[in-house]
């Protein structure tokens, strides 16, 4: 059933050249935890895989440099989770996302770039990176493009990335000391949990006053991770109190969110769950920033 060729590149340039030569018949494979499953189901077709694993020597890193947090595209979720950087409370949401990400053995393969690139609602790392207002660095033989993650997705499994481009890095500016984040999801079981609903919250607080808040859900209406911009607006500049949170989740959020019915959960339940998880996340982020 498995029938394809694999191209093992020497370096990034060689990989980009191969992508140009093979065109759409070649697909890059990072961890492969999504691509090979889709291939088995017949949902994706290719003749050749471009094995990105040899590029890990250059594209697997977690660093904080010159006010930028930079994550190499081929950093695995496990490496991200165990990185020094994530011990900092400012990145607590990323830590949550890594800890609850699939299972131990998937975390050792799944990559940051892959999670961002698959354009699927249930991309925990991408949801959290959205709350950090991250950008995606794309490389091709023609050079480099930087796309803000919030403009990266077009539809389910569709991004602005061209077939001859590779994601090389995801980066965002270093959050200030009064910032932290939370990632929360809920599923019937914890192991392998994909979440009926997943939410990421990033906030900067000044004495309980919300200086900046960014909220991202697995889906707001379209089938990919997106920010809940109106809910954010309704919280910005206000005190992070239970009243203000309740107003945001009961009055604003349902107006901008529409959810789907499927075999996993009903739309009604998903909206209810989004409200509950968002409230928990906002309260938790307040506690985290307060150092509790």
């Amino acid at each position: 059933m498995f029938r394809f060729d694999v191209y093992i590149p020497r370096d990034l340039r060689d990989a980009l050249e191969a992508l140009r030569i093979y065109g759409e018949e070649m697909l890059p494979i990072g961890g492969g935890t999504d691509l090979l499953v889709l291939y088995r189901q017949g949902l994706v077709k290719f003749k050749t895989l471009l094995d990105l694993w040899p590029l890990r020597s250059n594209l697997s890193y977690v660093k904080l440099e010159g006010g930028l947090v930079r994550l190499g595209a081929l950093t695995t979720v496990e490496e991200l989770e165990s990185s020094e950087l994530l011990k900092d409370k400012r990145f607590a949401g990323l830590k949550d996302a890594c800890r609850t990400f699939a299972t131990t053995f998937i975390r050792s393969l799944a990559t940051v770039g892959g999670n961002v690139g698959v354009a699927h609602p249930l991309s925990d790392i991408a949801i959290t990176l959205l709350t950090y207002d991250a950008s995606v660095r794309l490389r091709s033989l023609d050079g480099e493009r930087v796309i803000p993650l919030k403009n990266f997705y077009l539809d389910k499994r569709k991004t602005v990335k061209k077939p001859e481009e590779l994601i090389t890095e995801v980066f965002f500016s270093e959050p200030p000391n009064n910032a932290s984040s939370v990632f929360a999801k809920l599923d019937r079981r914890v192991g392998h949990g994909m979440g009926y609903v997943a939410v990421g919250v990033y906030a900067e607080l000044d004495n309980r006053l919300v200086k900046e808040v960014r909220i991202a859900f697995d889906s707001i209406g379209r089938p990919f991770p997106e920010r809940a911009l109106r809910t954010e607006d309704s919280l910005r500049g206000k005190e992070l109190s239970e009243d203000n949170i309740n107003r945001a989740i009961y009055e604003v959020l349902p107006k901008e969110m529409s959810r789907i019915n499927d075999y996993r959960a009903s739309a009604e339940y998903r909206i209810y769950l989004s409200q509950v998880l968002l409230k928990r996340a906002l309260l938790e982020v307040g506690r985290r920033i307060g150092g509790e």
Binding site: F4, D5, V6, Y7, I21, T33, E78, T103, T104
Partner: protein, 182 residues
């Protein structure tokens, strides 16, 4: 490295790629097809049938092995990626005729029913105990949560890993067959 960059000119899906890697301490050289997964090579070409094919899509944890110190699902790993690596399967965790503390602990706790998930469970437990010889109950559950056991022996796995951790901390890593309850 002759395999690097070879396929620029052809679509030859049936070509052989020679890879060499260490399996359970032994250096092996084997010819693989580009589309072969590590599980195919370990089972069919190297005869390491402890690596079980369950779901084939990274959900059940039956096919996990330790590769370069990481726990990986062999059903989602291309065989060519094993080139130059070090792979440990269940066959290699204890010397011939001996049992590893984890195996002994699983027998002591009567955890085995059908046993299909065991190779995966044992490798996952070994991965955990290598990293952390004194895991808490929550840590054990967190790491083992990807290993599906349809007989439902989960609670006994937790007991067994705790027991194995006790054995290992007492310095008892390998057990003779005679010490194992029958």
């Amino acid at each position: 490295m002759s395999k690097v960059g070879v396929s620029h000119a052809s679509w030859d899906t049936y070509r052989d790629i020679e890879i060499s890697f260490k399996v359970n301490g032994k250096e092996v050289k084997v010819k693989v097809k580009p589309y072969e997964r590590l599980i195919d090579v370990l089972r069919n070409k190297l005869g390491l049938v402890s690596v079980k094919g369950g779901c084939g899509r990274g959900e059940c944890g039956a096919c996990v092995v330790i590769m370069n110190g990481k726990l990986i699902p062999t059903c989602l790993t291309l065989a060519v990626r094993a080139d130059g690596s070090e792979v440990l399967t269940l066959e290699g965790i204890a010397p011939e005729g001996k049992l590893h503390a984890i195996q002994k602990a699983l027998l002591d706790t009567y955890a085995m029913q059908c046993g299909f998930c065991f190779p995966g469970v044992i490798m996952t437990s070994k991965y955990l105990l290598d990293k952390n010889p004194n895991p808490s109950e929550d840590e054990i559950k967190e790491v083992l949560d990807g290993n599906l056991c349809r007989c439902g022996s989960y609670l006994r796995f937790v007991k067994a890993v705790k027991l194995a951790s006790k054995y290992i901390n007492e310095g008892k890593i390998f057990f003779d067959e005679s010490e194992v309850m029958r």
